[in-house]
Amino acid sequence: MTSAFAQFRALVGREIRTVARTRVYVLLAVGLAGLVFALTAGGGGGQTGYLPAVVDLLLPLELVVPLAAVAVGYRSVVDDLERGELAVLETYDVSPWVYVAAIYVGRAALLAAVLAWSLLLSGLVIAVASAPDTTVYATHSGVDSPILWGRFLVLTVLFGLAMEALVVLLSVAARSVRAAVVLATGGVLLAAAGGDALIVLGLADGWLAESNLLSALAAAPNSAYRGLVFETVIGVAAAGDSGYAAPGWSLLGLVGWLVGSLVTATLLLSRRHL
C-alpha cells in the first residue's frame, strides 16, 4: 500500500515547486524586504542598533505578517477545490491530515523564507550602519546585539507560521477564491486585532481579572508575539524586571493557534470527504 510519507513528500514537493514558479511571490519577497528596510531606516533604527529597530518594527509587523500569510496561503486549498483536484486526490486515497500538513509545510516554508530574508537583509544593514557596540555577541542586560535580532527574527517567523496555519484553515473553509480572500483577510485581522480588543474590553468591563491578564495575553496571537518579543528581546537589554508577558504561555499560545488551526482544517476537510 502507498505510504502516507510518500504522499506527503509528493504533495510538499508540488507546493514548493508551485510557489517557486509563481512570480507574485518573488514580488512579495522583494516588497516585504523593501517595506521592512524602509520601516527600519525611517525609524532611525538602522543607525542606532538592533533594539531600536525591533521597537520600530514590532507594531507594523503585527499587521504586515498576517497580511503576508494571507498573500501566501489564501488560495492554497480553495484552488485545488475549484480545479477539481481535491476530488481527484481523493481517488489516490490521500488522507485529509496528510493533505493539510503538506499544504501547510509548503506554504509555511515560503512565508518563513520571505520573512527571514526580509529581516536578515535589514539586520545586515544595521550591522553595517549602526554603532560599534552592536557587534558584541552577547545577550546580558544593557547590551544590544545581533543575537537579539536573531531572536526577533525567529519569533517573527513563529508568529507568521501560526498565522499561516489560520490562513490554511480559512482556505479550507472557503468555497471560492473570492470567498477565500475575504475570509482569510477578515479572519487574520480579526485574530490580530480582536484578541487585543477583547482583552481591553474584558479589563474595562471587569470580566477579565488583572491576575489573569498574562495568560489572556498569551491566548491572542498578536499579544503572544508581542509579549515574547518584549520578554526575550527588548526586556533582555533593558535594566530591571520585565514581567510584560508569560513567555512560556505566550509560546504555547502561538503553538496552540498553529496546531489548533491545522487540526480544525483537517476535521473540516474530512467532512468534505478528502
Partner: protein, 240 residues
C-alpha cells in the same frame, strides 16, 4: 474481455434536503465495458457518479466495489479538469504517480493519450482539449480497475471529443470498467457497450445501444432518447 461487474450501485437514493435527486437507482459497471449514463441536465448524473466514487454518501442503497485490492481502485476525471498551471504535462503525471509511490511512467501515460510531444509544455500553455487529454492520462495513473469520467467530451471540438471517447473505448477493451456521463448521443451510440438512461433521478431503460434501439423501434440512440425521455416529458406537460 470480461463482463463481470466490478462496481455495483444498488437501490441508490439521494436527497438534498427535501429534494429527491436519485431514487432506487441500480447500476452495474462491468469490466471490459464502456457504460454511459445519459439523461437531461439536472437529472442526477453527476450526483450518481459522486456516489459511485464514494465522494458522497447515498441517503439509501449501497455501492459495492468488487475489484482487486489495489492502491487506486477508481480513477476519476471531473467535468472541468484543471491542474497547476506552473507544471508541465510530464510533471503533472509524475506528481500523481508519486502519490501511489510508483515509478512515474509519464512518457507511456502521455503517449497513450497522444500528448507525448507536449510532455514538456506547461499546463497553462495547453489547449482545452489537451488539458482534457491530460486529465484522462491522470485518471488512468496506477491502472485503476474502474475509471469514471464526468462528461469527458463537453466543450471539445468534434474530432477531439471523438479522440477522447476512442481512448476510453480502448481502455475498456483492455479490461477496465469505464463509466462515463455524456450528452453526446452520437459518441455514446458509437462507443458505448451499455447505456443507462437516467431521468428525474431514476433509471428509465438500460442496455446496449442495439438492444435499446430494438426495444423502442428506433434507428439511433437519439431516437431512443426521444421516445423514452422527450416524448413522456411532453405528455406529462400536456396532462399537467
Amino acid at each position: 474481455m470480461t463482463t463481470d461487474p466490478v462496481l455495483v450501485g444498488e437501490g441508490i437514493a439521494h436527497e438534498f434536503g427535501d429534494l429527491s435527486v436519485l431514487e432506487g437507482v441500480d447500476i452495474p459497471v462491468a469490466s471490459g465495458e464502456l457504460t454511459a449514463i445519459v439523461g437531461p441536465n439536472g437529472t442526477g448524473k453527476t450526483t450518481l457518479l459522486r456516489i459511485l466514487l464514494g465522494h458522497l454518501s447515498p441517503t439509501d442503497g449501497e455501492v459495492r466495489y468488487m475489484g482487486p485490492d489495489v492502491d487506486r481502485p477508481i480513477g476519476y476525471l471531473p467535468q472541468q479538469p484543471s491542474f497547476r498551471p506552473q507544471f508541465t504535462a510530464a510533471e503533472t503525471i509524475a506528481f500523481y504517480a508519486g502519490l501511489l509511490d510508483e515509478p512515474a511512467e509519464t512518457e507511456a501515460a502521455l503517449r497513450r493519450v497522444g500528448l507525448a510531444d507536449a510532455a514538456d509544455r506547461r499546463v497553462e500553455a495547453l489547449s482545452g482539449g489537451m488539458r482534457r487529454l491530460l486529465g484522462i492520462a491522470q485518471s488512468l495513473v496506477g491502472e485503476p480497475p474502474v475509471v469514471v469520467f464526468d462528461e469527458p467530451a463537453s466543450g471539445l471540438d468534434p474530432s477531439m471529443a471523438a479522440n477522447a471517447f476512442e481512448i476510453l473505448a480502448e481502455q475498456a477493451a483492455e479490461g477496465t470498467a469505464v463509466l462515463v456521463s455524456s450528452h453526446d448521443l452520437s459518441l455514446v451510440d458509437r462507443f458505448a457497450d451499455r447505456v443507462v438512461f437516467l431521468n428525474r433521478g431514476s433509471v428509465i431503460v438500460s442496455g446496449s445501444p442495439a438492444e435499446l434501439a430494438d426495444a423502442t423501434n428506433s434507428e439511433t440512440l437519439w431516437e431512443v432518447y426521444e421516445s423514452v425521455i422527450r416524448e413522456p416529458a411532453a405528455r406529462r406537460e400536456v396532462e399537467a
